[in-house]
């Protein structure tokens, strides 16, 4: 919603930080450990609002600083990926630390998600 020229009303987020790099919406996480059920529900709702309300089509989840996530968080990411695709958008992930990437490997979710090493590389791949 444009309030006046040059100003855009942005929803406030607590669990995520949303910024734009060109046409790509970059999402960072405010929590180092994504495991608390209540926080997972909140970050899921905030991520979904980026897709549904803000109508963003190119979304990058930058996991820099995230030290831990549980299978409940993986489930939320799966649902988000499905939602982005249903909105004809593209979702990528980057900056995933080694231990968390191993979780994506053993669950074979590295085949579902589009994962890149670093943000710049991911943005250029959109």
């Amino acid at each position: 919603m444009n309030l006046s020229e040059g100003f855009v009303c942005m929803p406030t987020h607590q669990r995520i930080d949303v910024s734009k790099v060109g046409d790509v919406t970059v999402v960072r996480f405010n929590d180092r450990k994504i495991l608390d059920e209540a926080k997972i529900i909140e970050f899921g709702a905030e991520l979904f609002s980026v897709v549904e309300l803000d109508n963003r089509k190119s979304i990058l989840l930058n996991f820099d600083g995230v030290e831990f996530l549980s299978s409940a968080a993986l489930g939320k990411l799966i649902t988000l990926d499905r939602k982005v695709k249903s909105h004809k958008g593209r979702l990528k992930m980057s900056n995933i630390r080694r231990e968390i990437y191993d979780v994506f490997l053993v669950t074979k979710l590295n085949k579902v998600f589009d994962i890149h090493d670093a943000e710049a590389e991911a943005i250029s791949a959109f």
Partner: protein
Amino acid sequence: MAHDPSVRVANPSPDDIGPWRLAVHLPSERGASRIVTESLLEQLGIHGWETADVFSIHLAAEEAIVNAIVHGNKLDPHKQVYVECLVSPELVRLEITDEGAGFDPAQVPDCTSDERLEVPSGRGVMLMRTFMTRIEYNEKGNRVLMEKRKG
């Protein structure tokens, strides 16, 4: 199981590398795992466990406790989860018991199969098996013993 909210903790000083033990009853509430994991993580650091192993143990503990709360006890406020932990420089042992009807872990579907790969849930037991060196369920399926041995 008796309703006993007591926590028994044997807490060594940092110079004492004898095993740390914890025995606690958790309420069947989302987020209750933190009662255990905060102390567990602290003790893993004190006992010299490396980052990768700390992650593995944390993940397995979180998955097992959440399973006990959500799937075992069905979030029933009248039921508790009993957690016992042991941490030494060479071994971590976790035992989690719920008051539910139990289940057969052999019947858990393969979450990496093509038809289940994009199902949001069902990965907890597989992650526990992958990231710990030993995992055993009792016959009923309401108690799980997990171990991580260094090296």
